[in-house]
């Protein structure tokens, strides 16, 4: 396996999945912007019809307010701007999670179903390289498209709002300078390696099912972990096993099915008090707090399990004989 082969294999994935990896983030971003525009226009029309006038008087107040902001408030404004910019990326990331989920399920199954794997298998490509290229495409390269589309959408959205406000005589351009687009991009790009590590159990499990299933990989991928969980919960009803079903649902079932959702590694409590204090947001944007998760045993156990399942996927890719 060499780098050139791997490069072309990843490229091939993007040829095949241009729709999922490129167009889905682009279209989600566009839809988001269109909805925003519709909101602004709708607000203007509503205000005009009902005589609400966002007149120069209020504008003056607002402009005065903008000028009287102290350092701490400016700091807050900049944090909120960064968050606003981040928001479209989060939205696109959620849509992207679905793309990755179904991509992994089909990655080693679809070409067996339409028999085109016989063509790929006629070329000097190792099965390890094939599987590796699909993992790289899904959780390393495709997220970059998400970041690019998300950031562009975020910046355009801020510009749209600034333009809309300037029609009312309020200039917020001076405030826009307070945003840190590069910082946010750095944060998002910095999260990608963490995403790769965190998503490995899900990617591994889905690709294992994709490589192994004779038919209906989706059903197997979902039914097996859910059925296991139901059985464990059922035994728990009798209090018989020293094995907690909540632990299973949280650490196994959720990890093999939902870990491809970006940001899933953030513990729920870290988001709860986010709104209390802008300082919390700054901590949120600090990569080191995200990377703190690397000190937990769970993530590395997940990585090991993910790699083991990928090895299984490679083995089935090599020896599954159903042509």
């Amino acid at each position: 396996m060499n780098a050139k082969t791997l490069y072309w294999l990843v490229k091939r994935e993007f040829w095949e999945h241009r729709g999922g990896f490129i167009w889905t983030p682009v279209i989600t971003g566009i839809v988001f912007l269109v909805l925003n525009l519709m909101g602004i226009v709708g607000g203007e029309v509503f205000g005009f019809r009902h005589g609400f006038h966002f007149g120069p008087l209020e504008s003056q107040d607002l402009v005065a307010k903008i000028h009287s902001l102290d350092a701490r408030e400016l700091q807050q404004v900049s944090t909120y701007l960064d968050l606003a910019m981040l928001f479209p990326s989060c939205l696109i990331a959620i849509v992207f999670a679905f793309v990755v989920f179904f991509y992994c399920l089909g990655a080693l199954y679809d070409d067996r179903r339409d028999r085109s794997f016989l063509f790929w298998k006629s070329l000097p490509i190792s099965d390890t390289a094939t599987v590796l290229s699909k993992v790289i495409a899904a959780v390393l390269i495709a997220p970059i498209a998400v970041v690019v589309c998300g950031m562009l959408t975020g910046i355009i959205m801020l510009l749209i709002f600034a333009i809309a406000l300037s029609f009312h005589g309020v200039s917020v351009w001076s405030l826009l300078v307070l945003a840190h687009p590069l910082h946010v991009v750095g944060f998002l790009v910095g999260c990608i390696p963490l995403y790769l590590l965190w998503a490995l159990p899900t990617v591994g499990w889905l690709m294992l099912c994709s490589s192994w299933a004779k038919s209906k990989p989706f059903l197997w991928a979902v039914v097996i972990p859910v059925a296991l969980g139901v059985i464990i919960s059922w035994f728990n009803l009798f209090g018989s096993v020293g094995f907690e079903s909540t632990w299973y649902w949280h650490e196994i079932a959720a990890r093999v099915l939902f870990s491809a959702v970006p940001g899933d590694w953030l513990p729920a409590h870290s988001l709860e008090h986010l709104g209390d204090n802008p300082e919390n947001f700054n901590r949120f944007f600090d990569l080191s707090s995200s990377y703190a998760v690397l000190t937990s045993v769970e993530i590395w156990a997940g990585v090991a399990a993910g790699i083991a399942m990928l090895v299984g996927a490679v083995w089935f890719r090599r020896w599954r004989d159903d042509s």
């Binding site: 085109s116 006629s122 004989d321």
Partner: protein
């Protein structure tokens, strides 16, 4: 002898059936071998074993490599068209060329493009927009541009019209085959390939029942057209097969002295399909 493929006691068992039963054969370089047998005889299994697509018992050596453990290296020297129209439906002509050109060390891009120039295919065209015949043209252009030592074709023209079928084998013979290359082909359209074969292998119920080169086949088997009055004499020589045409009987003999047969009537070399039908009698009974 520089054998390209050597099989020794090759066996393959599926859950409830024996697909290959202690098969032994050798394929030398520079041959075009027709592997011919009824449905379910084990042809495809044998090819899959050679290509490392399935596990098996026994020994198999392809170009000095074991297809089970050295498959990745083997695929640099071996090409195959495993079925009709297995190219991925989303790929464009230009993408397919780019991909193979960058993945395969023995691919000649200029050659491939010159083959495609003779077809109606355009670079931007996707496989899903092509007819079955066009897909095979693309696949063949890709494969012929690879300087491989062994080419394996499993029913490459199934379902194509006669123009595409003829053109397929003509291209192979004129622009691809030479003494350094070996081709193994399976097909049911025996008549169309018999003039290009150098060797013939009949397989039935997982066993090789006939393995001969075409010259030896002409010497061993003979078809004689015998008039009605001589028919009884002919039958005494234990023909493989007998059929009636225009009041005359056509007998197929295996290993009977040619001089002896000349006395009975006009001698011809049997066609592969007649020989096949005679050999496989009772297969589905």
């Amino acid at each position: 002898m520089n054998a390209v493929v050597t099989a020794k006691d090759l066996s393959k068992r599926y859950k409830n059936a024996l697909a290959l039963d202690n098969v032994n054969f050798q394929i030398p370089a520079g041959r075009i071998v027709g592997l011919i047998g009824p449905n379910g005889a084990g042809k495809t299994t044998a090819l899959k074993a050679i290509l490392g697509l399935t596990d098996f018992q026994g020994q198999l050596n392809v170009l000095g490599l074991d297809p089970r453990t050295q498959r990745d290296r083997l695929m640099e020297e071996v090409c195959f068209i495993a079925d009709v129209a297995v190219l991925p439906r989303w790929i464009r002509v230009s993408e397919a060329i780019d991909f193979v050109a960058n993945i395969h060390p023995r691919f000649n891009r200029a050659k491939c493009e010159s083959f495609l120039a003779r077809t109606k295919l355009t670079p931007g065209q996707r496989v899903r927009q092509m007819s079955k015949g066009m897909i095979v043209q693309l696949h063949l252009a890709l494969v012929m541009a690879i300087d491989a030592k062994l080419l394996v074709l499993d029913e490459p023209t199934l379902g194509l019209d006669i123009l595409y079928r003829k053109q397929f084998y003509q291209n192979l013979l004129e622009d691809y085959f030479d003494e350094n290359k070996t081709i193994i082909v399976t097909t049911h359209q025996v008549e169309e390939i018999e003039h290009i074969l150098t060797d013939l292998m009949f397989i039935r119920d997982g066993r090789i029942v006939l393995n001969t080169d075409m010259d030896a086949m002409g010497e061993r088997f003979a078809e004689v057209m015998v008039s009605a009055d001589m028919a009884a004499t002919a039958r005494q020589l234990k023909p493989l097969d007998e059929r009636q045409v225009f009041g005359k009987s056509i007998f197929l003999f295996d290993g009977v002295d040619q001089a002896q047969l000349k006395a009975l009537g006009e001698i011809r070399r049997p066609s592969v399909s007649d020989l096949f039908v005679a050999t496989m009698k009772g297969t589905y009974a």
